[in-house]
């Protein structure tokens, strides 16, 4: 009996669905105002603090069915993608440069370490002053988060290029530009891809936190507005929406990585005929 119940590949999904159902059931039973209160003295208090799952779901349904959400999602998406793209390109360029010019890397070392150690979220108010309440300030915040992740990985990647592969390419006649294109960049790319999952998540954090702190549109703005009027159901709906959105973004990065990094051996991979 226990053998069949033990989690394995086949009943994996069943367990996962079961966990979601249990969580929703617990949430529903704990917050239903018509049922006796569990912790609070008044059964209306639990739904006030924790929302009600059926209302959260109907909120999500209204958003998508009524079409109100698309404009906000689009704004958040644009902010995330811009921060991600600009941060990645800048991190790649500067990482390559400092990786290849160790003397300059030594010069900039304390500044980079300092900038990275600084809690960058506190820059959000300054960015708002500089770039306004629109897309610009969110992209700037996301950029500061993404840039350092990509930068450090590229920097490391360039410095860890195999010296033998490098010497071999030089013996085969590669000039400096060809070395950059054929050896340094591809070698750094494997490190970059390792960092992109983190980077896209942080770009998203930058966008949402920026919206939350001050904006006129975006999912973070919706959450902030709802919080202002103690509409917990909408706050939860926004959180669930953001979670799904982040998972989708991560999945897209994973797909791109899979396509571009075919040359990397995977653990336990057998020779493909």
């Amino acid at each position: 009996m226990w053998k069949r119940l033990k989690p394995n590949r086949k009943n994996l999904r069943i367990y996962q669905v079961l966990i979601v159902v249990l969580l929703l059931a617990f949430w529903y039973l704990g917050t239903n105002p018509n049922l006796p209160a569990i912790y609070f003295d008044d059964s209306n208090k639990a739904p006030f603090f924790f929302g009600e799952p059926q209302k959260v779901l109907s909120r999500l349904w209204d958003w998508f069915y009524g079409g109100e959400i698309y404009a906000h999602l689009w704004v958040t998406l644009v902010e995330t993608m811009l921060a991600f793209a600009i941060g990645t390109v800048a991190g790649l360029a500067i990482g390559l440069w400092l990786g290849l010019a160790p003397a300059w890397a030594d010069v900039f070392d304390p500044f980079i370490k300092g900038a990275n150690a600084m809690p960058r979220v506190i820059l959000a108010p300054i960015f708002m002053v500089w770039f306004g309440l629109g897309v610009g300030s969110k992209v700037a915040l996301g950029f500061t988060l993404v840039f350092f992740i990509v930068f450090f990985n590229v920097y490391q990647g360039v410095r860890e290029v195999s010296p033998v592969v490098l010497a071999n390419a030089r013996m085969l006649g590669a000039n400096n530009r060809q070395l950059l294109r054929s050896v340094y960049l591809p070698s750094a790319m494997s490190w970059v891809f390792a960092s992109l999952h983190n980077a896209v998540g942080l770009a998203f954090v930058g966008a949402v936190v920026g919206e939350y702190l001050g904006s006129a549109s975006g999912v973070g703005y919706l959450i902030h507005q709802a919080e202002g009027v103690f509409d917990i159901n909408t706050v939860f709906a926004g959180i669930i929406l953001l979670t799904i959105f982040a998972i989708v973004l991560d999945w897209i990065v994973g797909m791109i990585e899979k396509r571009l990094m075919v040359w990397q051996p995977r653990a336990g991979e057998t020779e493909r005929m």
Partner: protein, 267 residues
């Protein structure tokens, strides 16, 4: 005129952390390789064999002395030489065929022209049809063949080899050695072959140079190998002349090997 001439080479390395700490790997070493000649350099481990080869390749500037390539002093990378490395040298992100034609592409040969030549060379090293694989999908011996094709496709006049087969198992190694001799016999390039394996050196070469133990390595003996060609490396090892030569050279090497071994124990 020699194809490759190392004249009175000295290489002193400075420690990066402590500039007063010096290590002279090679001192006053002179080696010449004639056109079409297969020369092996043997020496105890850690004696600076690779240092000499890197000087010949132009990857390393000697502290003093000069390197002549067909009579011209070498400045920068030795473009007339191909280099076979001891460890993995293929670009892991390029497919086998793209690795083989890398040198042609660096030299600006258009892809339409490079690809058929690359396929021809893959076939010549026994890897026809493996062009679409990545290096990690090949065995160690196959990767060495790809490296060989990658080097020879550029038709270098000089081939520098740094213990290229030392990581292979004995059987694969002898097969590769025979194939190397066959490829070499086809157009008689000049070869400078570095190894710590005396048997390999004798079986392959026209001449064997013995180095002293490091530091301050320098050649201590030169032995012409008069075994008839073509040779089969696994059979030639059993001939009386081979054993005679082996004994003679080993006699010269033995002391240095012991010296090198003791130094390693100390370090």
């Amino acid at each position: 005129m020699s194809a490759l001439k190392l004249n009175d080479i000295t290489c002193t390395f400075l420690s990066r952390d402590d500039p007063s700490a010096r290590y002279t790997a090679v001192r006053n070493a002179s080696i010449a390789v004639e056109e079409g000649e297969f020369v092996s350099v043997v020496g105890p481990t850690g004696c600076g064999k690779s240092t000499l080869l890197n000087v010949a390749a132009g990857l390393l500037q000697p502290s003093s002395g000069e390197c002549l390539v067909f009579g011209e002093p070498l400045a920068g990378i030795n473009t007339r030489a191909g280099y076979l490395f001891q460890s993995e040298s293929l670009m892991p992100w390029r497919r086998t065929l793209d690795n083989v034609i890398a040198g042609l592409q660096f030299r600006g040969v258009p892809k339409e022209e490079a690809v058929p030549r690359g396929e021809e060379w893959l076939a010549r090293v026994g890897l026809a049809g493996f062009g679409h694989r990545y290096p990690h999908q090949l065995s160690g011996g196959q990767r060495k063949r790809v490296a060989l094709a990658q080097c020879l496709i550029l038709d270098p006049k000089i081939i520098l080899m740094d213990e290229p087969f030392s990581a292979l198992d004995v059987q694969t190694r002898q097969l590769m050695e025979n194939e190397l001799l066959e490829l070499w016999a086809a157009d008689r390039k000049s070869v400078l072959f570095i190894t710590h394996d005396l048997e390999e050196a004798i079986a392959l070469s026209d001449r064997v140079i013995v180095l002293s133990a490091g530091p301050e390595t320098h050649p201590i003996g030169e032995f012409p190998i008069d075994l008839p060609r073509p040779r089969d490396v696994s059979e030639v090892r059993l001939t009386p002349r081979f054993l005679e030569l082996h004994e003679k050279i080993w006699h010269a090497m033995k002391e240095e090997v012991l010296k090198g071994y003791k130094q390693q124990l100390k370090a």
